[in-house]
Symmetry: C2
Subunit: 455 residues, 2 copies
Amino acid sequence: MPSHQPTAGDAAVDPQYLSSQPSPMASTSEPNRSKSYEPRKVHITDLPMTSENWYKHINWLNVYFIVLFPLSGLVAAFWTPLRLETAIWAVLYYFATGLGITAGYHRLWAHKSYNATQPLEIFLAAVGGGAVEGSIRWWARDHRAHHRYTDTEKDPYSVRKGLLYSHMGWMIMKQNPKRIGRTDISDLNESAIVRWQHKNYLKVVITMGLIVPCVVAGLFWGDWVGGIVYAGILRILFVQQATFCVNSLAHWLGEQPFDDRNSPRDHVITALVTLGEGYHNFHHEFPSDYRNAIEWFQYDPTKWFIWTMKQLGLAYDLKQFRQNEIEKGRVQQLQKKLDQKRSKLDWGVPLESLPVMEWDDYVDQCNNGRGLIAVGGVVHDVTAFIKEHPGGKAMISSGIGKDATAMFNGGVYMHSNAAHNLLSTMRVGVIRGGMEVEIWKRAQMENKDVQYVKD
Amino acid sequence: MPSHQPTAGDAAVDPQYLSSQPSPMASTSEPNRSKSYEPRKVHITDLPMTSENWYKHINWLNVYFIVLFPLSGLVAAFWTPLRLETAIWAVLYYFATGLGITAGYHRLWAHKSYNATQPLEIFLAAVGGGAVEGSIRWWARDHRAHHRYTDTEKDPYSVRKGLLYSHMGWMIMKQNPKRIGRTDISDLNESAIVRWQHKNYLKVVITMGLIVPCVVAGLFWGDWVGGIVYAGILRILFVQQATFCVNSLAHWLGEQPFDDRNSPRDHVITALVTLGEGYHNFHHEFPSDYRNAIEWFQYDPTKWFIWTMKQLGLAYDLKQFRQNEIEKGRVQQLQKKLDQKRSKLDWGVPLESLPVMEWDDYVDQCNNGRGLIAVGGVVHDVTAFIKEHPGGKAMISSGIGKDATAMFNGGVYMHSNAAHNLLSTMRVGVIRGGMEVEIWKRAQMENKDVQYVKD
Ligand code: HEM
Ligand code: HEM
Ligand SMILES: [Fe+2]
Ligand SMILES: [Fe+2]
Ligand SMILES: [Fe+2]
Ligand SMILES: [Fe+2]
């Protein structure tokens, strides 16, 4: 749980860039700062890990909340029979607390991708707390740093440090708060709900993580122990592992349709695991879009939840990037991939590197037996290709020593794109002053005699 | 079956393009020309179809061979019990005769995509005849015309005339031989096997289409009638319909990864039906490649057959386009699609259409309350966007009236590609003489005083 709070002087905006009339929202002071942290002292992460001090590198509080305690549910389950009602309730509560993280912590508070009315905010702050993944304030601060400094040293859960690190390692190992990039959370600090949840976080965890699931199962069907073990502890294990996948799996598995310079990726498996947060390449590119999946057939229950809340009047101002901007991103990424592919192919000698030939020289060489064909002002050596020509030897031979531009481009046969490509690999020269017709025109104008080789 | 032979004067090569020493292969005379056809008479296809003459428009011989006779097998099957041995034999013979068409008629004779030794040629000419789809000579001539004049009036089975027309209609309706585009089949006319098969075509059909399947079933397991009904007639029905799909389905269903100017398409369903001839967009682009499917996991048993024949020493000189040429085609087609997509999107006002502003004018307008931000020499109106800015109001406001190029490009936050795209849609002007730094440099050089608005 929250263990690395921003350091002193860690203002959201570099002072040199602050506008003259600071917006009332851009407060640089941060309430709720952990009082115990003293920036001048040497931090444990500055010391190498040894067999002596290794246990000081571990964040034992987090180890308890995300490893020992959730795993203890597996042990308890041995002695606790699972009742059908409790199983159904555990799954439902899994979805509720999961949505607390995805629709609440993530899309509402970290990204402000929509606005929620107070009742919805309270609900999300409550069930989000029940997922036992830290307070909104702590979570959203790290998450904004993750977006702003993705894949860099300042990214709190950079996948560049390994898949396991991005999944849980970043919480299990102590972090130097100076390392995490700074972000503006003035809007969160102004929210009474966020502040309250942060201050009373442990109470929220116990109430929403354990008491509520236990009491519901106990009061309605008398399964107090099952409620705490399955809908409480084990459900925490699952919801934690599932939502942690947004930081690990979503930066590791899948496609990159919008930008491949960073690690975020789109994959349906991640989406299935994370209540729809699996279209993460899209999400990093359009973080303030309330959707993660933009196609109707893709799995994004968090989006469906937010949309339903809007229909019920509980959410409003759902933000959405214009389709035009989304398509632009896709087109640019496709272009980039295509350019990479193109640059690996052989497109023939560039025209400017070819030797220049006279028309008469071209004709002479052909009469001396070379298999040259001029098409579009460029001379091609087709000697080796004649017997392979799909249109037959006779066809291609009929172009040797001539201006074959017209024949090649439809006069005899409208050659395919593939044929044009192949032709360009056979380039050996360019003809000075264009093609045969140009030579004749010039001769006509200059009233000079041009030697025409009859065939 | 062959009913429209080339007309007189229908030379493979337009005489004006014939080379002075015609290759011995480019003979313009065509043996085996049907004597009954008289080009000067009015052809039936020149007359409109009426209730009087409709039956004259029908090619009854073909109707018999590809409709009535194969369908009669369905009727005969009512009285003929199907034995397992005969069923297996019918399927095997289906593959053999199918390969006669795909590996023989199509890839060997029509496209010369490999060379076959005499035993293999004889085998393919025999089983190909057993598929009852015309002689090699007739089939390959039409097929070459189909490739050379794809989708045009000269294409014998142009899909532009309808799916059914390209499937069977072109055989059922009489054709004016003048309509079919001319092609060079001198190489086929020189082949003794091709000439023999053409001359003795009816004998080949009866032997390979009916007698062989009947005799095998009769001699080995005593099922003479089943052999003729199932391995003979019904097998003909299936192999005909399957291979006809190359002309219909393959020009109608699927993707166009190499060229979308013509109708040929790639689809796995067509491949499954046609012994691998389903990668037809590729095939029309690279017709002399012995493969139709280029990926190992795609279904192309015809390719596998040819390859096996090569291992057995029965086939040689298997032609293959360089992977480089294939990839070039793919890249170009992708580029074309991408360009089409790009042109449909809004990329913001082009820079050259924007009004030019002075730097001081830009700063003045911002001081008067306009939400303008200059990035990279271009002024953007972000007024409506400030409250939506994913990086917060304070951040974006800090750039107003300043040269925000550096902040926007990493000084504060390295904006995503999406942010750059969005920015360009907000363009309202360009700054004369570049950005703030340029103004200062110039002022310095001119030793003039520039009004700097402090904020
Ligand atoms: C210069 C005179 C040429 C003539 C008159 C000519 C004629 C033809 C004809 C008629 C075809 C169609 C074959 C068919 O019916 O399927 C053809 C196909 C082809 N030709 Fe040529 N050709 C010429 C030169 C070339 C050259 C110089 C190249 C390449 C270096 C070339 C490459 C091809 C290729 C790759 C095909 C098969 C692909 C397709 O259908 O487009 N040809 N040619
Ligand atoms: C001019 C000064 C600007 C500053 C200092 C600034 C700063 C920032 C910062 C820090 C973020 C990251 C938010 C986060 O932590 O997740 C951000 C995101 C974003 N900004 Fe700006 N911004 C500026 C101008 C603009 C402008 C003019 C636009 C577009 C017209 C823009 C579009 C965006 C978008 C779309 C994002 C979210 C997408 C992404 O993560 O790249 N910003 N901005
Ligand atoms: Fe991420
Ligand atoms: Fe996010
Ligand atoms: Fe075709
Ligand atoms: Fe073909």
